[in-house]
Symmetry: C2
Subunit: 251 residues, 2 copies
C-alpha cells in the first residue's frame, strides 16, 4: 500500500515553499496537480510520474491520485498557496474516507503552505493585521446569493476583506456588485490592494481605492484586499492598525 | 544605513518555515522578537545580536529594531506564523514611515509565513476550504462590543470561523459568549477543532462540537476553528465541503 499527502506549495516561487513541503514532494514518486501549478515546481518533479489536468477536473485528479497511492506509489497532490484554503485538502480527504479500508492508502497529512492571501498582504505591507474575512467570488459551487450576503456581512462588520477569484473571463460583473455593497458601508477612499501572480515571474502589485479599484486589471490570478475603516495608504504601503484605539500609547 | 525586514517564521518547527524566511534570518546581524518565538529558532540566531522582550512590549521592540537598523545593522523582526496576521508587520511599517528620511533604514519587506490558522487547519484535515472569518478574542486593543458584533456576523453568514487568542489566564469568559452567539445560528453538533501549539513540541489536536468545546483545555496558544453548517467530522478529520451543492457530480 502506498501513501498520499496533500501539499501547499506556497504562492509561486520555490523560495516561498516550506522545507516540509519540499521534502514531501522530493520523497514522492507521483505528483498530481493542475498543470500550471506543476509547472511552478518543474525542477522538483523531474523523474517522477506527473498527473496533471486542467483547472476544473479536480475530482478526476483526486481519483487518479488515490488510485496511484492505492497501487503502492508515494503520491503528493499539490495546491498553490495553502492546500486548506480553496485547495485540494478537502476533496482528497472526502474521497479517501469513502474508500474500502483494504484499498485505502496511508494518509501523509495536509502540509500547510503560505497562502496567496499572506503573500499578497506581504507585498502590500500590512493590510490585514486585524480581524478579516475571506470570500471567493466564484459561483461555480456556491450560489451567488450566499456570496452576496457574505460580502454584505463582511462590509457591515468592518472586516478587512480578501477576495479570491475576483474576476475571470466568463465572470466579470461580480466584483462590481461587491464594490457597491462595500461602498454602502465604507468610504470610497478606503485603500484596496490588488496583487496578481504574487511570488511569480509576472507579479504585479497595486494600491487603489474602494471607489476606483474595479477599473484596474483584475483576473483569476489576482487577489483583492479591501481595507477596513482604519486602513491607510502611506507611500507604497497599505497599513491597517492592529487595534481600534484612537492612538496607541507610545505610537 | 542598515536594513530591516519583517519575517513570519511559521507556526513553530523550522520545517514549516520557508526558504526565504530562513535565508533572511541567516543574513541578519540582529534578530528582534518575543522571547518565546526567538527560542523557536534558537539554532538560527547563534552569534547574532538578539533583542527579545516580553509579549506586551511590542512598540519598544519595534523601536529598538528600527534604531539598530538605522545604525547600520541588518535586522529581522520575527513573528510566529505569518507576520501580517496579528503579527509585527503593521507596527514596524507604522513606525518606519514616521522616521526622518535621513534616519530611515532600507526596508527589506514583509516575508510571509505559514499562518497558525493554516497549520491548525492542516492538522485537523480540511476544516476551512470555503469562505471564512478570522477574529481575535483579545480585547486589549479592540472593544469587546466590536468583537461580539463580528462574531454575530460571522455566525449569521455561515462562515467557517477561526478564533485567535481564544482564552488567556486573565480572559476566560469571552469564548463562552462567542459559543452562545454561534449556538443561536448553528447546530450544537457542528464540529469545532482546537489546536494548541501547532508544529511545536507540545502540539495537541482535538475535534469537539459547538455545544461542548468550551469545556476543553484552551489557552493563548490555541486556535479554535468553528465549522460551517456543512462541516462534518469523519474519523479523525474535520472536513468542510468546497461548495454548497447538495451533491457534487462525481463525488
Amino acid at each position: 500500500m502506498g501513501k498520499i499527502s496533500v501539499v501547499g506549495i506556497g504562492p509561486g516561487s520555490l523560495d516561498d515553499m516550506t522545507y516540509r513541503a519540499r521534502r514531501t514532494i522530493e520523497e514522492a514518486t507521483t505528483v498530481v496537480g493542475y498543470k500550471r501549478y506543476v509547472d511552478l515546481i518543474a525542477e522538483l518533479v523531474e523523474g517522477k510520474t506527473v498527473l496533471d489536468t486542467g483547472m476544473t477536473q479536480e475530482i478526476d485528479r483526486c481519483r487518479a491520485a488515490l488510485k496511484a497511492a492505492s497501487e503502492g506509489e508515494t503520491v503528493v497532490v499539490i495546491s498553490s498557496g495553502d492546500a486548506g484554503i480553496y485547495g485540494m485538502a478537502g476533496l482528497v480527504l472526502e474521497l479517501l474516507v469513502k474508500m474500502d479500508e483494504a484499498e485505502r492508502p496511508e494518509f501523509g497529512g495536509v502540509i500547510p503552505g503560505v497562502s496567496a492571501m499572506s503573500a499578497a498582504a506581504g507585498l502590500l505591507g500590512a493590510p490585514i493585521m486585524h480581524d478579516f474575512v475571506v470570500i471567493s467570488l466564484s459561483d461555480l459551487l456556491t450560489p451567488w446569493e450566499i456570496i452576496q450576503e457574505r460580502a454584505e456581512l463582511a462590509a457591515q462588520g468592518d472586516f478587512v476583506t480578501a477576495l479570491y477569484n475576483p474576476r475571470s473571463n466568463k465572470r466579470v460583473g461580480q466584483i462590481n456588485a461587491v464594490q457597491e455593497i462595500f461602498l454602502r458601508h465604507r468610504a470610497p477612499e478606503t485603500p484596496v490592494g490588488i496583487v496578481t501572480g504574487a511570488s511569480r515571474t509576472n507579479e504585479a502589485v497595486l494600491i487603489s481605492t474602494l471607489g476606483e479599484f474595479t477599473k484596474e486589471d483584475i483576473n483569476m490570478f489576482s487577489l483583492v484586499i479591501i481595507g477596513n475603516s482604519k486602513t491607510r495608504q502611506v507611500g507604497d504601503w497599505m497599513i491597517t492598525p492592529r487595534g481600534y484605539q484612537k492612538r496607541e500609547p507610545g505610537l
